[in-house]
């Protein structure tokens, strides 16, 4: 069910996000960054990787690191089941394009974004960092947290030194 959140003829430019579920929250990432969605398969562990980097997978010939988003959002680890999904995203970093896979609970709809409807991220002291959040958008009765994928993966991969992407400028983030 695709919700069209556009108001009227002079609504701001829309773009589309893929929404997915993690725990009790719904998140959205720029559809143009989504390379692939696939089911869970066992990954090859990387020695001494940070805990949220589960390992690597072969994705049509490329070696792609798989990251557990729950750890980023301080949710408990979940079991990876047959319905666990991996979203493969392409991220812009200082060294160019890098692909990452993120493990989520399930994928939802593709939704249009109207810039006018996006509210800024709440300034909550309890959140570790909110720079990876572009904003919040109401969709039906839920709030979708729009993610800046370049910044998000930057945090995820922060421990890997060179793998750090440059924090993207807001105009560029398009997440």
């Amino acid at each position: 069910m695709t919700t069209n959140a556009t108001a009227g003829p002079d609504a701001a430019v829309s773009q589309q996000v893929l929404t997915f579920v993690l725990g009790s929250e719904t998140y959205g990432v720029d559809i143009l960054r989504v390379q692939e969605i696939r089911g869970w398969s066992s990954v090859t562990k990387i020695p001494h990787a940070p805990p949220h980097v589960l390992g690597v997978l072969n994705l049509r010939g490329s070696i792609v690191p798989i990251v557990d988003m729950r750890m980023q959002f301080n949710l408990e680890r979940a079991e990876y089941t047959a319905v666990t999904v991996i979203i493969v995203l392409s991220v812009q970093s200082r060294t160019g394009r890098r692909d990452f896979g993120v493990v989520v609970d399930g994928v939802s709809d593709v939704v249009n974004v109207n810039a006018a409807e996006v509210k800024p991220a709440p300034d909550l002291a309890s959140r570790a960092a909110t720079e990876h959040i572009r904003g919040l958008m109401p969709v039906a009765e839920r709030m979708v947290v729009l993610l800046d994928i370049d910044r998000l993966i930057g945090h995820e991969m922060g421990a890997l030194g060179d793998a750090l992407p440059e924090p993207a400028s807001p105009a560029q983030s398009a997440a």
Binding site: T44, I46, P47, H48, S62, I63, R98, A163
Partner: protein
Amino acid sequence: MAELDLAQFHDTFFEESFEALDSMEAALLKLDVGAPNPEGVNTIFRVAHSIKGGAGMFGFTDVASFTHTLETLLDELRSARMQVTTYIADQLLLSVDVLRAMMRSVQRKEPVDMQRVADLQFDLEAIVAKKGGGSAPAAAPQGAAIPGVVPEASSANPGVVGVAVGAGPVAVAVAATVRRGGWEIGFRALPELLLRGNDPLAIFSSLAELGSLQVTVNMDALPRLREIDAERCYLTWRLQLTSNCSREQIDAAFDWAAGDCEVTVVQRSADVVPKAVAPAVVVVAEPAPVRPSTATQVQEAPKAAGAEHSSIRVSIEKIDELINTVGELVITQAMLSEVGRKLEGPFAEQFRSGLSQLERNMRELQESVMRVRMLPISFTFSRFPRMVRDLAQRLGKQIELKMTGEQTELDKTVLEKIGDPLVHLVRNSVDHGIESPQARIAAGKSPVGTVHLDACHRGGSIAVEIRDDGGGLDKSRILAKARSRGLVGANDVLTDDQIHELIFLPGFSTAEKTTDVSGRGVGMDVVRRNVKELGGKIEIASELGKGSRFIITLPLTLAIVDGQSVSVGTETYIVPLTSIIESLQLQPHNVSRLSGRGEVFSFRGDYLPIVRLHEVFGVKPRAHALHDGLIVVAEGDGRRIGLFVDELLGQQQVVIKSMETNYGPIDGVAGATILGDGSVALILDLTGLIRVAATRAAA
């Protein structure tokens, strides 16, 4: 983007066209006017035709139009509707000049001398119209000569009928056959050349005024940027000047520079145009002429005058793409084989046999594709005769350099990177290995020392050996030096091999290099590192008083490695075969615990540390007790260890995939590969692994 692509093709077009013009010129010179070889005429026609086609395609209409006229004339000749006369042959040669000049101008985006072109075109059309009759029409040429190209006959034969004396282009007359000749000029700068205000640029442009000049540069003697003495010229050139000028005119060009350069001038007879010695394999934009040398046999370019040996230029990106795709095919085929093994049913056997055929085809394809990037090691070897001679002279030693196996081919990238290590090793042999003539005589040897460079294929690798009959490595001195630097404990006992290995330690060789070139220190440690980076290894054998041997083993290609699969718990790792010495199962009594060194086992008289792979990588193994698993004796970083794993799986060739694209470098991991079942396995880097293990042990 489209414009950029076209530009790339332009470059190729020009290069190919210049080459084509050369062959056209060669064919013309060989043409016996009385009894012309039909094949020769055909060749000439084909060249003109292909240039016309290319020019037309790129929109070089002037070139295309002129070549079209040329082609028309040639067509008449090759179908014998017209006879070749001396006059016609000369006009054709002139056409080559004009075309060359024209294309140069187009290439440089400079104005073309259309007057000259038009005049010649007029003459050619006149020939066709008259069906071959004729003396030189009294063309009244106007206009300036094309920069760099001067009419061939004007200076040498002012009295020839029909020639307008002056700066204009000329139509060559009939009777006085002015046959095309030329000169081969070799030019080498001596150290003071530039400092005395001479510049090869000026010299070459004076030469270019005498005729059409082709320049080939040789950069072999040019050191790395930092080591260059910027005021010295290290380049040498071979020039081919097509001109009827006199020897004096050429010498005049070198007047100012006399004494500061070595020049050889050889007159070419009019009939032979020696080809530039060029690689016959796929050329990838690298000028690397093989220099002939008395001490060695050198690959003779199959493009020797007249021989038709076709090759095309291919960009290196295309080759890499091709190799990549073949790599993917290898993986896919492995996957299919895996499925095939498990298949049951009526067609399973057929399927499996089809797969095995596929595997054979794949192997062939792989080998062919790899060979595309392979070049003979002579490209690297060619610099040594000169280098050894100069160095030996400087040091007052007498040294004979032998080179064998120059035809041995290796991957282009490996070839490029092996140069520096080889230079260092050869320098070492000359500098420190071979003794002075007096010392040699005193030792009962011939005063002339020998340095022998050899390359050959061994198994799936290439082995390059540098052998000298010098003084060999002095173990006691090495040990003493290592001790004095704290690299070895005062009471440590080392085997001969271990002592030899000491010279690879960083910081070991610095004091030795008093006669070496300053700049970025190139110690033996750097040599070993370079070799390791290529996936190879280096070994030493030496005998005091008799000489030394350095053996470098390199993989044939970088993208694929022969590996031994091992399992640790649920994980599979690949150990490169070049790192493996042996695999064995330990008995409890082989193992000891040394304080400060952890678990060790005895191997060929040594105690080697045991590295538990599961510990280093944080994986849960199946075997904990050493005798329940296996030990893979491997080496890296100059050391040997026993790698403890659960079991050995198969040996196979694996395609190396980079971890760095999407992830980053991992210590102890060289890359990853995709196994037949689609899963990812990490390929170990022994050097990194051993370092990691050492750090953990110290912690």
